[in-house]
Symmetry: C2
Subunit: 583 residues, 2 copies
């Protein structure tokens, strides 16, 4: 067989194995060395191919798609710095447990480290930030090699998806000429040969006797908290609520736990703990004896401080993905078990439901605090960043997805996104919490989800402005609520805000960009709103429109800090009254 035929057979076997393993979506950034893989992928009838010029955006686009669908997505780029541009998304995928399969084309060995063009060292390019790296062999059509290539394809899909999910990287050395043979179709009849590999993946399960010790502790302690941080496991929700009812432990529900808008209404789903715990002088009333924690660490800093400063807490961390996520280092038992299996076993062994004074306190304070927050927002006439969240929730269609930017937006969602029955899914890149790649991730999520809204600040929007190209090229519907406070809002909440000197230069960093023009470059629709009436109308219009819809909400960083603090002061006063009454 000639070079082209050998290369085609080799690559077709690999690609067919990916499809066999369930891969549906491929994001390709154009380049020369990756030509044969790209041409074959486009040729495959079951693959959806997306082209994205900027590899950094492409990788986050794939990440958003994988996050939304909970399935691995494939990335392909050419050799050189193209592959280095994937790095931020690879790092994020690794920490936030999102399955990505990164394929990089490479120069063959004889063109490496000898000054050849577009040749960089791609071996272990992503270091320890991928779950698995494989330097693929040069194309050959020996049976042993083809078996190996299929095995690598199967393993790439399985490893990326196996818990904890994450990115894998396969590097393909390819020699010129780089054009494959497309006639006869290299995929026709290939699947019928029963060459392809299936993978069956089990879950971590613990035994009844392993759960017994947890049950014993829980039954002895009335003051407990179930803490649900970011976790994407919809079937888990009802089991968490059942566990709460049996134990009498309130559920501290981070917005990314998906418990705040999952169709379950239960007074023990606590959504205002961030405001409740803001004034640390009341912490004594909230310190639990037992914690059962699911998911990653919640975003709330007051909650973190409560847990960090308290002593002698029995703290179970349940992680069905074998992880070790305990930044406060207070976990006392790490439970590596599928979360549902854990809840079910607990449920079987726990006695009747329990409602204690502790439960009641949390429920009451949560209700009261919510009223304060809601009232404060209703009274607010100015364009306030918190009110954007409360208004948004009212006017979105059911089953919408909100993709939330890092820095301020996720914190505002934590404070202002209350329990509701709208079945809104909240997504965010909370692995490394970067402001990069958020636009692309949201647009990636919009490929398979209807009604995706991106809530994002101006710096983060700017950082991944290139991400809009995918929405333009593939006519994706993305509604962007752009909170434009002309700079980095979060720094106004940090200690350096007190140092007026150079603050704007280093942290405020106003860019004075007129995004309206930038949106026009992408044929997007842009509206700047000046009051809440306009905001509501803009949300409604964007929902009924197609393509890129940007709603800019101009806000003021200084005023924003003040309005947040004013509200928290009210909560603090209320708490004071509550506990005076208690004593």
């Amino acid at each position: 067989m000639g070079h082209q035929e050998v290369m085609t057979t080799y690559l077709a076997n690999f690609i067919q194995q990916l499809v066999h393993g369930g891969i549906k979506h491929v994001v390709i950034s154009p380049g020369s060395r990756s030509t044969p893989i790209a041409m074959l992928m486009v040729e495959h009838p079951e693959l959806n191919v997306y082209i994205d010029i900027d590899e950094r955006s492409a990788a986050f686009f794939a990440l958003g798609m994988a996050k939304e669908t909970r399935e691995p997505v494939v990335l392909l780029c050419t050799s050189g710095t193209a592959a280095a541009n994937y790095y931020p998304a690879v790092v994020e995928a690794n920490i936030s447990r999102v399955p990505l399969i990164v394929l990089t084309a490479d120069r063959p060995h004889e063109l490496r480290d000898v000054g050849a063009p577009q040749a960089i060292n791609q071996i272990h390019l992503y270091g320890e930030h991928v779950k698995w790296f494989m330097e693929m062999p040069l194309p050959e059509d020996e049976e042993e090699v083809l078996n190996f290539v299929r095995q690598c394809g199967a393993r790439a899909v399985a490893t990326s998806a196996q818990v904890p999910a994450g990115p894998v990287h396969l590097n393909f050395p390819l020699r010129e000429p780089l054009v494959p043979l497309l006639e006869p179709s290299p995929f026709e009849g290939l699947e019928d040969q029963h060459l392809f590999i299936d993978v069956i993946r089990g879950k971590l399960n613990i035994s009844d006797s392993q759960v017994e010790q947890v049950v014993t502790q829980v039954e002895q302690k009335e003051k407990g908290l179930i803490i649900c941080g970011p976790i994407d496991y919809p079937e888990l929700n009802q089991h968490i609520v059942a566990l709460s009812e049996k134990t009498g432990y309130p559920i501290i529900a981070d917005p990314l736990s998906q418990l705040r808008s999952c169709g379950i209404f239960n007074p023990s789903i606590i959504d205002n703990y961030d405001s409740i715990l803001k004034d640390q002088s009341f912490n004594q009333y909230f310190v639990p004896e037992v914690i059962i924690r699911f998911g990653a660490m919640p975003v709330s800093k007051p909650l973190t401080l409560l847990l960090k400063n308290a002593k002698n807490i029995i703290h179970y961390i349940i992680d069905g993905e074998n992880g070790w996520r305990d930044p406060i280092k207070k976990g006392t038992t790490m439970v590596h078990s599928d979360e549902i299996a854990f809840c079910q076993k607990m449920d079987n062994q726990l006695k009747d439901r329990r409602q204690t004074k502790w439960t009641t306190m949390w429920q009451q304070l949560n209700e009261q605090t919510r009223s304060i927050v809601v009232n404060a927002m209703e009274m607010e006439n100015a364009l306030d960043e918190g009110k954007v969240v409360t208004e948004l929730v009212k006017f979105l269609p059911e089953h919408s997805t909100i993709f939330v930017g890092n820095s301020m937006p996720i914190r505002d969602v934590d404070t202002f996104f209350h329990v509701n029955g709208r079945n809104i899914r909240i997504l965010a890149n909370r692995g490394a919490n970067g402001i990069d790649g958020v636009v692309s991730s949201a647009i990636g999520a919009s490929v398979n989800a209807e009604n995706v809204y991106l809530l994002i600040g101006d710096l983060s929007f700017f950082h991944d402005f290139n991400g809009l190209l995918a929405a333009k090229m593939y006519q994706l519907n993305i509604r962007v609520i752009l909170i434009n406070n002309n700079g980095g809002g979060i720094f106004s909440f940090l200690p350096q805000a007190k140092e007026a000197k150079n603050f704007e230069l280093l942290f405020g960093t106003p860019t004075n960009l007129s995004f309206e023009h930038g949106i026009a470059m992408y044929d997007g629709h842009y509206t700047k709103v000046h009051n809440w009436e306009q905001f509501r109308q803009a949300i409604a219009d964007s929902t009924s429109s197609q393509g890129i819809q940007v709603i800019e909400v101009p806000t003021n960083r200084q005023k924003n800090v003040e309005s947040h603090r004013k509200m928290w002061k009210k909560v603090s006063q209320e708490m004071n009254e509550y506990f005076r009454g208690e004593k």
Copy 2:
């Protein structure tokens, strides 16, 4: 001493050592963990601080500045994916030998790999793509630690600048609170304490006897070529020309050798070899017996093919930076010596000047080919990508800098940028030849150079569109000649262009972006030209204007291939005549 005082002393010593080592420019991307370093850098009276939100652009901005000034530039960012965004520029700096000092702030050890926010594994984050990595100690004020910190500062500057120059990476774990003490000024009187370290760097030098063998070979062989690829060593130019005169060897001068516009006119500076060698059927006449090569491998593919296919060539590779740049693997002697020292020693030992038939042939064909190319361009009325280069050279001010994009622009410059007396410096990112980061690199070059022109295609311009922010924020003057062929022009020259199926989808990749709007976002000035008259006027206008000036030249990918091929056909015909006459 308290935490803040200790941290301030530690960091001030490090920063002062950087300044002591000659650092003038720092590019900072805002973030929280890097706060104390950023605040202290802004406070230092001798540091110029630039803020750039997008770390990918920031790194290329620093690279452009370092490339233009030939001095190390410092980068600073916060922890997390911010640092991963530096990767493409770090890789490019490493291959293209540009000194960069990358400083990343990090979470302290107790917040690593435990699910803490914005904490990624930053140890050896850039793998083998940096020359030196150091995990810095936590701030302490022990004398031993302060000595070490100064040593690391000195070593960072020296290592980045030592041949071959490249990037270094220092990772700083920092604990909260992150605000340093600015009163009294931490830098006042610090330099007077004679604590800071100087580094004296020598050059690789070879002995007279080591050169003797080269001289002997050269004297025996009439047919030789001096090949100058990309190299940034202005003082070398006259020595290369002197070597050419003594040996009678023509100089194959890549545009990035800087020999085509260095104020030296010599008929042996061959600037049309790419066109001459295009038709390989004449290669027999051009195969040399000896090659003396300087710099990286030239961009010209026909030249590469000539050298690759020829046998029995004595091939010296002179590299004063200790490298191994030989993608064709035909080097027979690697000479690790400063290039000027080598030329001078050669000059001392070589006899009188030599002008042979071989020299004359190259000179004649170069002249004749240049006429064909120049005439073809003069006859061209349509907006042709090649003619952009010939026109540009005519109308730029003397001592301008052209920053050239990868893919097509650098190849067009190779073909159409002829020897001239305008002292134009040509810069490009030819380490990994990526289309990424080119806008930022050019803008970085414009910080210290007057009259910088960026010649770039639309995909590359799009890829680093964010790079324009630095020009806007720092009122830098950058003139962009945007060759807009709406997609990837280079692929039309590659074999896959013959496969019409999916070609536009995968390789043509038209984005249909209206850049005019995007430029308005950055308050830039935009002109689209439709003929050469308008082009000349736009160049003149842009030269006399400030800020971002974009001149869009709409071209057609298909027509461009045809006009290039038509011209090369003429060269081929002329060659045919020349060698018929010779026989």
